[in-house]
Symmetry: C2
């Protein structure tokens, strides 16, 4: 129980950090009345959107909670509700900080770049620690309740199902929030740009544009609330599935099991501490590099996490050299083809063939996770930063027109998938050689343990974006806008970083989820002999159908943005036509009507694509079972789970990196390269940026929760069919 | 032996058709001296390019032929050389007809639309029948030589390896031809458009543009020669792998085996006849619909093929109701999970559990192949035709600018993968339930049996494109250009059709190739116990690495086009600067220098991406074997083969359909919708078209031979490791 309290303490510290830091942020000057008025409009719009979004999701959520209760257990339904509520809360609180920090960042940027950076980053850090803290508390307290007051064994079905249901609740909210928020933010952004910048010839964030408030609201509901819900989901699913796979796979006594299952929680707790320490290292150096300042925080956290993870592992497991789960049923039961044996031959690995793993194996697997996080950050920086070949090549291609800009951007998107894939492949091999599927699970856990810091870097972005908008609309000094633009450019990269990180961890988590699926299958249906071999055509069918999901989902997301943006264009054109005073600056546009329009459009458009990953596994299972029997139905369903990650990884990585690169190619030109603002190259770069918008902020990031939902629904379906 | 002569007769008839029809085409009027001069320049450029391309490929080819000879057998090396030479020949002859038919089509279009259509389609049909005829003859004669004069048993290793090597030769040429030609055509096209249409403001195909001849050369070397080599490859690989899998899987006496292995050849032969008959039905109806005229030919061929295939199957197999290969080793050895049994339970299928298949099962599988072809044509028409929602939605999105055009185009690309995937999935299930992997192989065979007609529809496109160019450059009457434009718009759809068809058949063929891989593996390494289960992480690693290949390959192709197009822009700008007389029309630009520049660029850029699929399987096998032992090396390699198809199918389908839709959205606007030519919507549509160019004509179509090469190299690697 001591370990559990350590984990709870970590979560409470995160919330305390959030509380204290938010007092600091709120204590800084909120700017002049005009700034406050604008910020008020953004707050109002954001709250109105989120309120309506949550009410819509609540309807779906209640239906599903009842279904979970009826088909599984009411404890599972409780888990679902807790996951859903806290995922929503993470987004809601994060957004509430963000809409108050934006105007304070603008005001702080009047003093200095460092002041602006501090306020914006503090606001991001609050969201980051809330995501990690709430995520950790939700699993820890739920696990404590189940194994303590409710008296369940840690590897009992009740605990496993309830943890899966908790993850499902988080995922379901998160796909709606990511997609709804993503559609909102990009419909408003694209619509505002098209009719403002292109047609009316007014600059970005000009107060005469009736879509300008909607655009700024979008940053908060999409890039902040949606992202926070998404990362909350990733956190809960990753830690949850690590615990579930320990319960399913490791054959040890209850005390051992309890310690092992607490390890992910304790690691999460200690990394909240290293993340909080890291935030205090975010400071401009002599070079004045903003990215450098943020990286100081990130690298401090990562490096401190190495000894910290080792320390808590020793604390939790005792002797790291002792073999754990000696009698463990290895997930991969292929004795003649034992990977441990192979690795033992090749490298004389520390684990003995088939004899479980040691604490050291887990610690090293977690080091692999930290290395993956570092490498993914570095690769994303390379593909989306203005200092490197990819972004420069897009900027150069802009000189020959819109077409070549987009061609080069697409080439960069496709290419950007290569290095992350290789990193993930090497990590899978390494962690698996160390401790099998449990090793992969712990690698994913240590990746997510850094979520507090990674989300902080990301959530900082929309705040600076908003600050720039407020500076523009309130007519602040030009240097303020220059500073917020500098802060914002870095935000493009950090936003891409989080997405690459989330999808990369999903690549690892999906393997663990598949492991849970196959184990559940043998447990629930011991008489079935499901053939997951690639020689089984139903496996191929499942892979193809799974691979299709991200494409179909991406198509829906892109179309939704296009359609909603078109509606914004019509609305804005209408306001300009009906009220000529707007363009003359004599009369105020009706911001609220545009916000309301985008709200309704986004909520309408998010429903169908979000239900796709919920329904697809169910439909595929029943269709194939009908045609080819239940064994092939389960084989196709299992293959679908891997098909969706095999294809989703590439779709998501290409979209998020490509989108970030397009955005920064535009910024690179705006910095005076290739003719600068207003040149033909700049126009081409604006086109690329517009194309990249729904790529990186709508379709791409929503693939991450989509993959998880598909997997979790499959697990729940199994449990329901067995029950 | 009688069956073999039937197949040879079919091939000879195809060549005769080509000979007779080319006399007809050449007999039609070649136009005025100015037209002939332009056509001469295109011919010269095309021949110069193809000559240099073939010389470059020859170097690679000789090296690989020697390697095949040394590591396998010299009979296999002979097969490789035959495949390579004939693949090259199919491209070369097709292109030679095309560059003579273009000017004659232009001249014929002066008389009437019907005359223009006839000449252009006849030229396409010559290429189509040559592809099918040469493909059929190459396999048939080689098979005859091996099983006759060389005295090998039909299922001997010598025959199997030689057929695989033949396919390899065809594939290797075809990837170079597809990619080199694709880079040439799109670099010239994009470069000419950027500097001509956009910068200098002169229309497409204006003779003052120094890149205009290169652009027209590109249509011939890319869309004609490259496409013909690609489809030749698809034909040879599909029929070859069907024969190989019969030899590997069906346990029957030599006479039975001989008959069964001849069936794909005889089906190929009879469908050449139905294709030739179909060509005579291509005629404008009262409505004057060009697409309708082409479809009359296609549907006639497809419908005639139904009884024709039944007839030759009866002729070849005798009693269609008799069970073949009763003692067959089913590829999928999962008795407890037997799909035949499952299907028998569900539908009381005609085959008895585990007891082989009947002639009827094969006939029905081939009907499935015909149905897939028809459905893919219909789906492609829907996604790329100007009459339907997708193209119209892109055209409408063009009204709000370049960005929304590209967003909607990308959305359509992603969406366009869904229906073809579902069709392929249903076909796989259906054919497999009928006759296992052999059923899938025969479904693919009947798809390819229609190649003569499908290639005819495609090869017609570049001829009309060129005819339009010649009409413009020679200053012919406006109505001629209107007619050639009408012919050309349909060409966009038929070109997309062929690519969807090729990649769809690759989806089926890849499963058969994987079957051959696993069977070879058990035969060569009976002591290994390779685990292809999705639970094996090395399988996941293989799937991920395989899925990466089309992305990396696509990135290289897109970048190559961007870079080469940039060089064209520089060259053309230089010519305009150095010789102001060009724009005034007083002096002739140096066309040859641009052609030479694009030639060198295309050949330089094609090498590395083409070697990717050759080297990747070898590298992955050795890397994983080193880390995790040979069994996991083979598991990862096998998974790589399926990863490349699972991801390649989507990449190729989205690129080719999306590209076609963008192109036709532009044509739809040029037809007077959304403001017509010169409007802002038109400019946005031109951007979309430019983006779609390398998508649909460079990166997308080259994925098809890439998938095949990866698979074939794996088979050869197995044979080499065993030998």
């Amino acid at each position: 129980m001591g370990l559990i309290w350590l984990a709870i303490a970590g979560g409470v510290i995160a919330l305390l950090y959030g509380f204290v830091t938010s007092r600091q942020v709120l204590a800084s000057a909120p700017g002049n009345p005009r700034m406050q008025e604008i910020a008020g409009a953004i707050q109002e719009g954001a709250r109105a959107y989120l309120g309506r979004q949550y009410r819509t999701i609540a309807i779906v959520g209640v239906v599903i909670a009842v279904l979970v209760g009826v088909f599984l257990t009411w404890t599972s339904a409780l888990g679902f509700v807790v996951g859903a509520l806290l995922s929503g809360a993470a987004g809601f609180i994060g957004m509430n900080i963000s809409v108050k920090a934006n105007v304070r960042t603008a005001e702080a940027a009047r003093t200095s770049l460092q002041r602006g950076l501090t306020v914006a980053f503090q606001s991001g850090a609050i969201t980051g620690m809330l995501v990690a803290g709430l995520g950790l508390l939700s699993i820890t307290l739920f696990f404590w309740y189940l194994t303590g007051p409710a008296g369940e064994a840690p590897d009992s079905r009740a605990v496993i199902d309830a943890l899966v249901a908790l993850a499902f609740g988080a995922s379901l909210i998160s796909i709606f929030a990511r997609l709804g928020g993503g559609i909102f933010t990009k419909a408003a952004d694209v619509g505002a740009d098209l009719v403002g910048k292109v047609e009316a010839g007014i600059p970005e964030d000009d107060p005469r544009n009736p879509a300008v408030i909607a655009d700024n609201v979008g940053d908060n509901v999409g890039d902040c609330a949606g992202m926070a819900a998404d990362l909350f989901e990733t956190y809960v699913v990753t830690l949850g599935v690590t615990m579930v796979s320990i319960a399913l796979l490791v054959d040890a006594n209850a005390a051992e099991l309890m310690r092992l299952m607490s390890l992910p929680l304790v690691v999460g707790a200690v990394c909240i501490l290293t993340s909080i320490i890291g935030t205090y290292f975010v400071r401009l150096g002599r070079g004045g590099s903003i990215m450098g300042a943020l990286y100081k925080g990130f690298w401090t956290t990562t490096l401190l996490s190495v000894p910290a993870i080792w320390l808590v592992s020793t604390l939790t497991l005792g002797d790291l050299g002792a073999v754990i789960g000696g009698g463990q049923t290895p997930l991969i039961e292929v004795p003649a083809n034992d990977p441990f044996a192979a690795s033992a031959e090749a490298f004389a690995a520390p684990t003995v063939a088939g004899a479980g793993f040691t604490g050291w194996d887990l610690v090293l697997s977690m080091m692999i996770g930290l290395a993956v996080t570092g490498l993914l950050v570095w690769i994303t920086e390379y593909y989306t930063g203005t200092a490197y070949r990819p972004v420069k090549s897009i900027a150069r291609a802009s000189e020959t027109g819109h077409g070549t800009n987009v061609i080069q951007g697409l080439a960069v998107s496709l290419e950007a998938t290569a290095l992350p894939t290789l990193v993930i492949v090497v990590a899978v091999i390494g962690a698996y050689q160390l401790a099998g599927v449990i090793g992969i699970a712990f690698a994913a856990t240590s990746m997510l343990a850094l979520a507090g810091m990674v989300v902080a870097l990301d959530a900082y972005g929309p705040v600076t974006d908003n600050a720039g908008g407020i500076a523009e609309m309130a007519g602040l000094e030009d240097e303020v806008r220059v500073r917020t633009d500098a802060l914002d450019a870095v935000g493009n990269t950090t936003k891409a970083v989080t997405k690459g990180y989330a999808i990369g961890s999903a690549g690892l988590a999906a393997l663990v989820l598949f492991g849970a699926y196959t184990t559940d299958l043998t447990e629930f249906f011991p008489d079935l002999n499901v053939d997951f071999s690639l020689s089984n055509p139903y496996v191929i069918v499942g892979l193809l159908l799974g691979a299709l999901l991200p494409y179909l989902f991406g198509a829906m997301g892109m179309t939704a943005v296009g359609r909603a943006a078109g509606a914004v264009v019509e609305e804005v054109r209408g306001q300009f036509r009906d009220n000529p005073g707007i363009m003359e600056g004599t009369s105020r546009p009706n911001y609220a009507r545009t916000v309301d329009l985008v709200t309704r459009a986004a909520i309408r458009e998010m429903i169908v694509p979000s239900l796709l990953p919920v329904l697809a596994p169910i439909v595929v299972y029943f269709a194939i079972t009908l045609v080819a029997g239940q064994e092939n139905g389960f084989a196709a369903l299992g293959a679908l789970l891997l098909g969706v990650i095999v294809s989703g990884l590439f779709v998501a990585l290409s979209m998020t990196s490509g989108g970030g690169a397009w955005d920064n190619a535009k910024k690179y030109i705006e910095d005076g390269n290739h003719g600068g603002k207003g040149s033909e190259a700049h126009k081409a770069a604006v086109t690329g940026d517009t194309v990249g918008d729904p790529y990186k902020d709508t379709a791409g990031p929503a693939v991450n929760p989509m993959i998880k939902i598909t997997n979790i629904v499959a697990l729940l379906l199994l449990a329901a069919l067995a029950g």
